[in-house]
């Protein structure tokens, strides 16, 4: 009996990836079992699934035999509070890591998302302005290569330059280089106080916020066609400091201090086509204006230059809209990546768009997964 026979069960109705049904599903319980499973699945096309919150992102796999479900790979292995690090299994819910005793993994994620999935998708949210993204917070990782070999990179200390930083390579690789089974994260203290400042203000005001040195933890923009755009700022720190800084920020933006975030905070904009837009900071207002002008709702970090645009697929030609957004993002020095689109629209879209360094990326993929079995076709350039 191979690990595949032991662990794999026939796929159910919900076991599909972007519309492509799987034949088998297997949920290993630890790294050793996962390694045996991957080794036994050497002839299969595999997609990895965590909480499934982003499984519908990106192009569908070219072929799919087996879904490896990480949700049994769960639990905090270690929380070294004095060292501000935690070691967690990949299937651990992010919500748990947001609330470790006195500390937090400061990486925003939707309900149901797992640590491994968040890393694999390089997902981020408002607080990236202060804390960075998965690439900044991940300090060690255990990955099972497509050939079944268990490998580690990084370590358990934040400061470490021994060897290649492969954690960054796996971050945002969408499961095309192997199966993440364990992550080591840098933690941050839970701030003693926080507050939000909300204002009706054009995105151009974001530059004033940044120039005012408020050490904002997040600076978010929200713009809906036909309505006044909004800005919201998250301030964290000591109670007295947050009180003073919030008041100052409210004056600057002619806004209001609020204990709670606006309803759109950290959420994907509505619409069945969603596009991630990036650009340099000075071009964020233009990028927002173009997207809103094209009928999209826009939310995201005006402080980091990472936005999400959403629009309904039936509200006009989605291909033309994506082309418009992509041109605007390129003008802004960034990229437009289509995250989600309905099955009928997706095949005709170049979801990832042009990517620099693609030839080198193909060579990396070829070395790690010469059979192109892990998430085939899900990544840039058809990788």
């Amino acid at each position: 009996m191979s690990a595949l026979d032991d662990l794999a069960v026939p796929a159910g109705d919900d076991d599909h990836v972007a519309g492509v049904p799987a034949h088998l599903v297997a949920a290993p319980a630890d790294t050793a079992q996962a390694a045996a499973l991957v080794a036994a699945a050497r002839d299969l096309h595999v997609v990895i699934r965590g909480g499934g919150t982003k499984l519908h992102w990106g192009p569908p796999p070219r072929a799919l035999d087996l879904i490896i479900d990480t949700r049994r790979l769960t639990g905090v292995v270690e929380h070294a509070a004095g060292d501000l690090i935690t070691v967690v299994r990949a299937g651990t819910p992010m919500s748990r890591l947001h609330r470790l005793p006195g500390q937090q993994l400061a990486l925003d994620a939707p309900d149901g998302a797992t640590a491994g999935g968040t890393v694999a998708a390089n997902a981020s949210g408002p607080r990236r302005l202060r804390y960075g993204t998965a690439r900044d917070l991940l300090i060690g990782i255990t990955v099972i290569r497509p050939d079944g070999v268990v490998t580690r990179s990084g370590g358990k200390v934040v400061k470490n330059v021994a060897g290649y930083d492969l954690g960054k390579l796996y971050t945002g690789a969408f499961g095309t280089l192997g199966l993440i089974t364990e992550c080591v994260f840098r933690l941050h203290p839970e701030p003693a106080a926080h507050s939000f400042v909300r204002a009706k203000a054009p995105p151009g005001q974001a530059a004033r916020v940044l120039a005012a040195q408020p050490a904002a933890s997040a600076l978010e923009v929200h713009a809906v066609p036909g309505a006044d755009p909004e800005l919201a700022v998250l301030l964290e720190g000591t109670p007295a400091g947050v009180r003073d800084r919030s008041a100052e920020m409210a004056r600057l933006l002619d806004g209001e201090v609020s204990a709670d975030p606006p309803p759109w905070w950290g959420a994907m904009p509505p619409g069945d086509v969603t596009v991630k837009l990036t650009g340099v900071l000075s071009q964020v207002p233009a990028l927002v204006a173009t997207a809103v002008g094209a009928g999209a709702t826009v939310s995201g970090s005006a402080g980091a230059g990472v936005l999400h645009a959403g629009f309904p697929a039936d509200g006009g030609d989605p291909h033309a809209r994506v082309a418009l957004l992509r041109a605007a993002a390129v003008r802004a020095g960034g990229h437009a990546v289509v995250l989600t689109a309905p099955d009928g629209v997706r095949p005709a879209l170049d979801m990832w768009g042009p990517v620099p360094g693609l030839a080198l990326m193909r060579r990396v993929k070829d070395r790690f997964d010469p059979g192109h079995r892990f998430a085939p076709g899900r990544f840039v350039g058809g990788i």
Binding site: G163, D165, G237
Partner: protein, 537 residues
């Protein structure tokens, strides 16, 4: 001409010139060549240069591309470049080239690729792990001529610089706009951004601000086959594999950066620096832990033990409190209201941990004075010891008291003194093992004590290097930290970039490795494998 360059080999020129990491008399040296250290034939001064016809042909081709003066073949000139900041390893390169443009770097690398000639990139040559140690049969590509700041765009929080630009110059260029470049290795007045990228350089303020890798958003690189490729960009989250993240810190083994886009950080509204003196290292460690446990993330927490303080006093008269067994330098920055609250907290925590004196810098001059002792400490140790070795290891900060005690024990057993100067906040130790090279065998024994310290770091779940890199010096310690499978996986990336292994060979990886001809497919034995010279991966 290179010797006239303030940013290049002049810093390490000649056999007697001290390395930048140890600016005074105590040149760090050791007499134990590691396995894989270049043969002595390449080291002996006066040996007539024996260049292969391949190198002669390459030199002729490169003179056509670069011009006569940018290709050095004279042995005396070549010797200027025989080591980087770690002077214990010396190899005279076969050729040195001084390209002035990215296109010239690419042309040189392409010529190397065509001829199967290894190449090593070098910035200012301040590295402390021998990462820029030349290859005896290869080309040393010095990037110090590529020294233009191409753009400073405060509104985008970006600057675009060439690799030979000095770290501190980036901050100077950004300062008028209220920004700076956060990574600040202690060599920042002379080290180059290109070298920083290769080594993922750190510094005293990593605790809050991170390392080079957190502040580089885009690169133009020359791949080992001589192509110019862009990785990352101006905006964050470039789609595709984060090859930028893999490249930063790859120590020149994946190619050469020819243009670097860095993130600029807003200058903090307020900076406060305090110096707290303790009777014991344990008390200072306890204060560090208490500060972190209280949820404060200072910009820097630096510690010096009694011996390091003694050395610093002798060298720069920094006037630290007398009788201190350890001093802590804590720097807080940010909005005034936050800094004030944290400052009161930190002062109280230091008092509670047993600080017998706490000084606060009243102005920038006093702040510089506090830092002077810390920043001069490595060099200052040269005043109290003929020679010393600089170690760079990392431990979880909670293990500080235990590991520092054991370092003292290990050194004591072997009759050595160790001065500790380090980044306490992130557990990055820099034990300096003091020795006297004139005593037979002492350098070897000091080296083994220094190695034992790394083993202590690993035993406590740490790392063999926090900021100096692996280079030539520590490749033999990599197996302490990584399994054969882990190293093989790193090597997959190396093979994707550099299948012929021409980019800085012999660094980072502990054993010579070759890349399989077909990706990931183990086919027939490679001729070198059959000859027992390497393993195929």
């Amino acid at each position: 001409m290179a010797a006239d360059e303030p940013t290049s080999g002049a810093l390490t020129s000649g056999s007697g010139t001290p390395a930048p990491g140890a600016l005074t008399s105590g040149t760090p040296t050791a007499g134990t060549p590691a396995s894989g250290t270049p043969s002595s034939g390449a080291l002996t001064p006066g040996t007539p240069a024996v260049r292969s016809p391949a190198i002669d042909a390459l030199a002729a081709r490169l003179r056509d591309v670069l011009g006569q003066g940018q290709v050095l073949t004279d042995r005396q000139q070549l010797r200027t470049y025989e080591c980087d900041g770690l002077a214990q390893y010396r190899v005279v390169p076969a050729l040195v080239v001084l390209p002035r443009t990215a296109g010239q770097v690419a042309a040189v690398v392409r010529a190397c690729a065509d001829g199967g000639v290894p190449f090593v990139a070098r910035g200012s040559g301040t590295g402390l792990s021998g990462g820029a140690l030349p290859h005896a049969d290869g080309v040393l590509i010095v990037t110090s001529q590529l020294r233009d700041i191409l753009a400073v765009r405060p509104a985008d929080e970006r600057a675009v610089v060439q690799p030979g630009v000095i770290n501190l110059q980036v901050s100077r260029a950004a300062e008028p706009y209220g920004y700076y470049y956060a990574p600040d290795p202690s060599s920042q007045q002379i080290c180059s951004i290109g070298g920083n990228v290769a080594e993922n350089a750190g510094g005293a303020h990593c605790l809050k601000y991170g390392f080079t890798t957190n502040h580089v958003t885009g690169l133009e690189i020359v791949t080992p086959d001589g192509e110019l490729v862009r990785l990352g960009g101006d905006a964050p989250d470039t789609p595709g594999y984060d090859l930028l993240g893999a490249f930063v810190g790859s120590e020149g083994t994946l190619g050469i950066a020819t243009e670097v886009t860095v993130r600029l950080t807003r200058l903090p509204a307020t900076v406060r620096t305090l110096l707290a003196a303790f009777r014991t290292v344990d008390q200072a460690s306890a204060a560090t832990s208490a500060i972190i446990a209280a949820g404060v993330v200072p910009a820097a927490v630096e510690m010096m033990d009694a011996l390091a303080v003694e050395a610093a006093e002798a060298a720069v008269h920094c006037d630290y409190p007398a009788g201190a067994g350890a001093v802590l330098i804590v720097e807080l920055d940010g909005p005034a209201a936050e800094v004030q609250a944290q400052f009161e907290q930190v002062t109280r925590l230091c008092d509670e941990a047993g600080a017998f004196e706490t000084r606060v810098a009243a102005d920038d001059t006093e702040r510089q004075l506090i830092w002077r002792g810390r920043k001069s400490a490595f060099a200052a140790v040269g005043r109290i010891s003929p020679n010393y070795l600089v170690q760079d290891g990392v431990i979880p900060r909670t293990a500080l008291p235990e590991v520092l005690r054991r370092i003292g024990e290990v050194a004591g057993v072997h009759g050595f003194r160790v001065a500790n100067v380090f980044h306490a906040g992130d557990g990055n130790l820099h034990p300096l093992v003091l020795f006297d090279d004139s005593r037979p065998g002492e350098a070897e024994r000091a080296e083994s004590v220094s190695g034992a310290i790394l083993e202590l770091c690993i035993e406590h779940g740490g790392s063999i290097t926090g900021e100096h890199g692996v280079g030539m010096d520590k490749s033999r310690y990599m197996p302490l930290m990584f399994s054969a499978d882990d190293l093989e996986t790193m090597h997959l990336v190396r093979c994707a970039f550099d299948p012929d292994g021409l980019a800085n060979p012999g660094k980072v990886f502990p054993t010579p490795r070759l890349c399989g001809e077909r990706p990931g497919v183990h086919s027939g034995a490679h001729p070198l494998q059959e000859a027992g010279l390497g393993e195929v991966f």
